[in-house]
């Protein structure tokens, strides 16, 4: 069976080359049977990679330690769930997962469009198959998951494997990588449609309408993956943070930022026929940032806590990206005539302009993060100076940018298309603006002096009120017309235009997340060595260590502190932070103790033992408002789901441009 896996991915590689070639040749030479055979090759690729993946998963599950990959990333004592996740726990397996997800997407795209877009589907298939060929090349010749352990030309098995890194043995981490990969891989689909549309010089926005849901689903996966990663960092890494600007974290957020810009700017194209070149550039950028993300994760070209994934695979990614970017730029420049804007801006104070600024801010933050990620590498290569960018560098840049984006989240949707009158601005913004100012003054009076914190809370209230007022005004109107209660009317309102009101919910999720981020400005922490009976004060909390235990089992050795928690004299129960050392992988992990509440989290980390090995070193943190990040994430996911539900009333995106009447036109011919 070990040869069957290798054979399957080799055949899939050949089929991918065939699918790309047959689709293009069939289209150019007008040979429909070749085009159809290209489509069938796509299905066969899925079958072959599914077979190969099944063989690998079976080998992991059954503990077949003749496979080098299984011996490296699994062992006998791992729970079944984590044995399955070992599929993507190492480089070879995760690249196989990439290929499998892409083949699945490609098969679904081919099937759902088998009777549509016949003029450019062959090129869509060719692009998908070309990307598939690249990853299958890696699967076959660079990072093969089916290599066997051998001694004296005989296949041998080791008694037990190394096991998956214990840091990865966490429920959120079990689904974080596939979620991110679903996002990374998913952007290949709109990219393929965009390129096919360019090649065939398609008029109109066909590719955008076709891929809108694909893009939204992909964005949803990417968002979920990022948030799961944040939750994992917060609950497992034990340093009390959820985002450290680690290069691999950055790699996941880069395509998310450009993808978010794309989701907004396509509305300009649908509604006004503008920004056609820009949208092609954005989706191409997003796709190549996904490839860059995979490259950063896998190459080890930059410093990262994800060091377990390093290898010299980078040069293949660089070559692929260089060729892909060159071909895309050539196509865009060659087809500029077909991408001319169909209308014009009527006012700077308009929805159109808010999209321009939205795109600017998202792309600026994307560029800043990309620069921060690559600058140490560039600096060392050019000047020889070793540079290290810490989180302060990112925060100083990204906090003001993020706040401006938050502000745009509130004002953008309330600007009218074409032109917004002063009356409209006053009507929409006076009460939310006033409420925000009152909040900031109240916080100042309460002693809050953090500048960005004040601005952020003010903007959060402003945006929340503008969003809620949209629901209220629309709901009130429907309630009056249909004689229903306000809540039901709001649900009806959302159902009538899911895209718009789902989008508002996504914005509300962002507001809630910003409330959580702002809490970071008010964090408190203390570190102390404690023995039984010793106390530690952090914020309003008094902590007393009542028990310190140690022990070991076949999987790990551990130390655990039992901490009695009280706040302002009131007993709140116990928290038990724990330190583990996994015997097979020889890695340590923290099982932090967290008391989660909407206003703040009390977070205890067992950092280790003192020099004399008698006292536990306890790091205690108070994180105000951090729970709102997770609540906001859930609201964001919910809002995106609503956007995916078809609207009750079909929205028409007819061009709404009104032609002005000039003096010349108003003069009647006699």
């Amino acid at each position: 069976m070990e040869n069957l896996g290798s054979l399957a991915i080799l055949l899939a590689f050949c089929a991918a080359i065939y699918a790309a070639a047959a689709s293009v040749v069939g289209k150019i030479k007008h040979k429909p049977f070749l085009v159809v055979s290209g489509e069938r090759a796509i299905y066969s690729i899925w079958v072959l990679i599914t077979l190969a993946s099944g063989i690998l998963v079976y080998a992991i599950m059954t503990g077949d330690f003749r496979y080098a990959y299984v011996a490296e990333h699994s062992n006998r004592t791992m729970p079944l769930l984590y044995k399955f996740t070992a599929w993507w726990g190492g480089q070879e397996g995760s690249l196989l997962l990439w290929s499998w997800l892409l083949s699945t997407y490609a098969a679904v795209v081919t099937f759902t469009n088998r009777r549509k877009h016949r003029d450019f589907m062959p090129y869509v298939i060719a692009v998908l198959a070309t990307v598939q060929t690249f990853f299958l090349l890696l699967n076959n010749f660079i990072a093969n998951a089916f290599q066997m352990l051998a001694q004296d030309k005989l296949i041998v098995a080791v008694p037990d494997g190394n096991g998956l890194s214990p840091l990865l043995q966490y429920p959120a981490m079990a689904i974080h990588p596939p979620m991110l990969y679903l996002g990374y891989v998913g952007f290949t689909v709109p990219f393929a449609f965009a390129i096919a549309s360019l090649i065939t010089r398609q008029p109109g926005e066909g590719w955008i309408h076709t891929t809108r849901r694909w893009t939204l689903v992909t964005w949803l996966f990417q968002s979920t993956g990022i948030m799961l990663g944040m939750a994992w960092a917060y609950h497992v890494l034990g340093w009390g943070g959820y985002w450290g600007w680690d290069p691999v974290e950055n790699a996941s957020v880069l395509p998310w930022l450009s993808g978010t810009a794309f989701l907004h700017s396509v509305m300009m194209q649908e509604k006004k026929g503008m920004m056609k070149v820009w949208n092609i550039v954005l989706i191409s950028t997003t796709f190549f940032l996904c490839i860059l993300g995979t490259f950063l994760t896998r190459s080890g070209v930059v410093q990262s806590v994800h060091a377990f994934a390093r290898s010299d695979i980078g040069k293949y990614f660089v070559s692929f990206m260089a060729l892909g970017i060159a071909a895309t730029v050539f196509l865009i420049l060659d087809r500029l005539d077909y991408l001319k804007s169909e209308s014009q801006l009527e006012s700077v104070v308009s929805r159109e302009s808010s999209f321009l600024f939205n795109n600017l801010i998202l792309l600026a933050s994307c560029f800043a993060v990309l620069w921060g990620t690559l600058f140490p590498v560039i600096s060392e290569a050019v000047t020889g100076d070793k540079i290290s960018l810490d989180s302060d560098w990112y925060n100083r840049l990204m906090v003001p940018i993020g706040l401006f984006l938050l502000f745009l989240t509130g004002v953008g949707p309330l600007f009218a298309w074409r032109k917004t009158s002063v009356d409209s601005l006053r009507r929409n913004f006076q009460y939310p603006g006033l409420a925000a100012v009152v909040l900031v003054v109240a916080l100042l009076a309460a002693g809050v002096r953090n500048f960005y914190g004040l601005i952020s809370f003010g903007f959060c209230l402003f945006v929340a009120l503008t969003v809620l007022s949209e629901f209220y005004k629309g709901g009130k109107s429907i309630a009056a017309k249909n004689n229903m209660n306000l809540l039901r009317a709001m649900v009806e309102l959302t159902h009538r235009n899911t895209r718009r009101y789902g989008g508002y919910l996504v914005h509300m999720g962002i507001v809630l997340m910003f409330i959580g981020f702002t809490g970071h400005a008010f964090n408190q922490n203390e570190v102390k060595e404690l023995n039984n009976g010793d106390t530690l004060q952090v914020g309003h909390y008094q902590l007393r260590m009542v028990n310190l235990q140690e022990g070991e089992n076949p999987v790990y050795a551990w130390h655990r502190a039992t901490m009695q928690v009280s706040k302002d004299g009131k007993d709140l129960g116990f928290l038990e932070p724990e330190k583990r050392f996994y015997l097979a992988s020889k890695e340590g992990t923290s099982e932090v103790g967290i008391r989660q509440r909407p206003n703040e989290d009390l977070y205890l980390n067992f950092a280790g033992m003192s020099d004399d090995n008698k006292r536990a070193i306890i790091q205690a943190y108070v994180f105000p408002l951090v729970s709102w990040i997770w609540v906001g994430g859930l609201v964001l996911i919910g809002g995106t789901f609503i956007c995916l539900v078809p609207s009750k009333i079909k929205m028409q995106y007819a061009r709404t441009e009104v032609v002005g009447i000039t003096k010349k036109h108003a003069t009647l011919q006699k």
Binding site: P79, V305, V348, L356, N605, N613
Partner: protein
Amino acid sequence: MQRFRSSGAGFQPAAGLPTGAPRGSAAAAWKGCPTRLLVLLLAAAAALAQTVSEKPSNDVRRVGQRLQCQCGCKDSVSTCNMLECSFSKPAKERIARMQAAGYSDGQIVDAFIRDYGQKIYLAPPSAFGWVVPYVGLALGLLVIYAFVKKYRKPKVMTELGPMEIDDPALEKYKEQIEEDLKKIE
């Protein structure tokens, strides 16, 4: 190097395995392998005794960020996560001790440079590193300005002043037209 002492004062050895600990054939296999158990326990003990440096405080992370780990990895002292790293662990412990003794970040970094040479120093970003993102933002604003200038619609008559009706027969509709235009706005 610190060593684990399993019977240290202040400890209450746990009775049996913790709740939910995996059991099974592997556990049985362990019982017959005391030497292996001892070796692994020693390794575990050594690691646990040194975990102060594995999860450093934010203060230690900040200073460690300025120092290149010398174990051969590409990471800083803060981010090197090599188990039992012969360099980053003692370095983090030294940083913590110096901070506890009141040394400033600069003095700690200088001490490391004195001992290991300039090669250990990871500089903070230069002015170039700071300026480029802002230049990117400024370029973006320029692009928006160019876009608005290129695609800004010519002014319509209503913005040029009152409408002039050449035909006197239509004069009577003038008021109605103006009212309708106001509604459109």
